[in-house]
């Protein structure tokens, strides 16, 4: 599960994009919830909320394309750190 802060961010981004938050396996990019710039703020918040430092090599948009992928990424990164 994503933190309340991250879900709140995505809800807000969906509202601003005038769309609905997609299900956990559907693309946040294709739905319009995240664009190139909201993605930057989302990743910054993710690092702060989850207390992790994302390695530059892992800073790829495909890791943040769906809620499920974000959850998996957080689990993997925490395990590695």
């Amino acid at each position: 599960m994503l933190t309340e802060g991250l879900m709140s961010f995505l809800d807000q981004a969906a509202t601003e994009a005038r769309t609905e938050l997609p299900d956990r396996n559907s693309s946040l990019f294709q739905s319009g919830v995240l664009d190139s710039f909201t993605l930057v703020d989302f990743v910054t918040l993710l690092e702060a909320e989850c207390n992790i430092k994302i390695d530059d090599a892992d800073l790829r948009p495909e890791n943040f394309d769906t809620i499920a992928k974000v959850e998996d990424f957080i689990t993997r990164t925490r395990g590695a750190q």
């Binding site: 190139s36 530059d56 800073l59």
Partner: protein, 340 residues
């Protein structure tokens, strides 16, 4: 030994291309361009103009500002993504057009939009090693000639503009004239490269990695001679790498972001600069911007922004400047300067 920026120059083509003119070519609306880039207009060269034409005008402007003759130049360092020819680079062409400095070394650096940082680093090394005393660094672009003006490339082709900027770097702390109140001392430069992302921002052709020929009909049909960009990756990496570079150079100089008077960034995209300012906790009025009027002028952009800050009187004695740039490669970094 210190080195100082003693002169600033710029040159822009006269033709202004507004979003209203460009948008129909790209199958988008003017509002879409503005919303996704913050760009309102850019300059494009005419058919007869090449990157070296803009470059030599900017270099002359910088030499005039520094009250320095071409005969006193020891080195020319050029940066461009849109050279006049595949070979040679534009530096020899600029040397020839400039007149007055035949024989001085004139080199091109292929470091993408981090041009100002890499050229300043090299200039500083040349001056400190006493291989040169006066070095001219410049970036010039005529990249409108290479844009893919179709909807498939709208996100990239909306960005770019043409122009040139230049600085004169000297080992002497001599004011150019009585009206000048400061020289900008280059105190520290941090530059990095990460080739793992080389294909995320690329012009593939002509190139020897493309098979039997470095340019053929198949590559042209595939559009490999135009730029391509993984936009989300570029923006994620740019904000991360630039903010880290800023943090590192400030920390190693015992400074905080609040002590920076002026940030002079590569003008990639207004939204990217806003994201960077948020991450660095720097208020936007301390960030020099020209991307709204000039678009992304690649190698020229930070030179143009620095020249703009100088000409608009935004630099004063004591000002601390933080130059930030990021480009294809990826190449990136930061430079810390002080007006003295």
């Amino acid at each position: 030994m210190s080195c100082f920026i003693t002169g600033y120059g710029s040159a822009l083509p006269e033709r202004v291309v507004t979003n209203a003119e460009l948008a129909p070519m790209l199958g988008v609306t003017p509002d879409w361009i503005e919303a996704n880039s913050g760009i309102l207009e850019r300059r494009w060269v005419e058919a007869h103009q090449a990157a070296s034409d803009l470059a030599v005008a900017a270099v002359r402007d910088a030499l005039n500002d520094a009250d320095t003759r071409a005969e006193d130049v020891d080195y020319l360092i050029a940066c461009t993504l849109s050279p006049d020819y595949q070979v040679p680079g534009i530096a020899p062409l600029v040397q020839q057009k400039l007149e007055g400095c035949p024989g001085v070394p004139a080199i091109d650096l292929r470091v993408g939009c981090a041009a100002i940082l890499y050229s300043l680093q090299l200039a500083r090394g040349l001056i400190e090693s006493r291989a040169a005393n006066t070095v001219v660094c410049f970036g010039a672009e005529a990249q409108s000639k290479g844009l893919d003006l179709h909807s498939r490339s709208a996100d990239l082709s909306m960005l770019f503009g043409d122009g040139a900027g230049a600085v004169v770097v000297s080992g002497e702390s001599k004011m150019p004239d009585k009206t000048r109140e400061y020289l900008v001392r280059v105190d520290d430069i941090l530059i990095e490269t990460d080739g793992n992302f080389a294909e995320d921002l690329i012009v593939r052709a002509p190139g020897t990695a493309n098979g039997a020929r470095w340019l053929d009909a198949e590559q042209l049909a595939a559009g490999w001679h135009h730029g391509s960009m993984q936009g989300r990756t570029v923006i994620l990496q740019a904000v991360r790498k630039l903010s880290d570079a800023a943090d590192h150079i400030l920390v190693r100089n015992g400074l905080s972001p609040g002590q920076v008077d002026l940030v002079i960034p590569h003008q990639a995209n207004a939204n990217l600069l806003a994201a960077l300012a948020r991450k660095l906790c720097i208020v936007s009025d301390r960030v020099v911007m020209n991307v709204d009027r000039l678009g992304n002028t690649s190698c020229a952009s930070a030179f143009l922004a620095l020249s703009q800050a100088h000409k608009e009187g935004r630099i004063s004695p004591g000002s601390r400047l933080l130059i930030l740039a990021f480009g294809a490669g990826f190449t990136w970094g930061a430079a810390l300067c002080r007006a003295v």
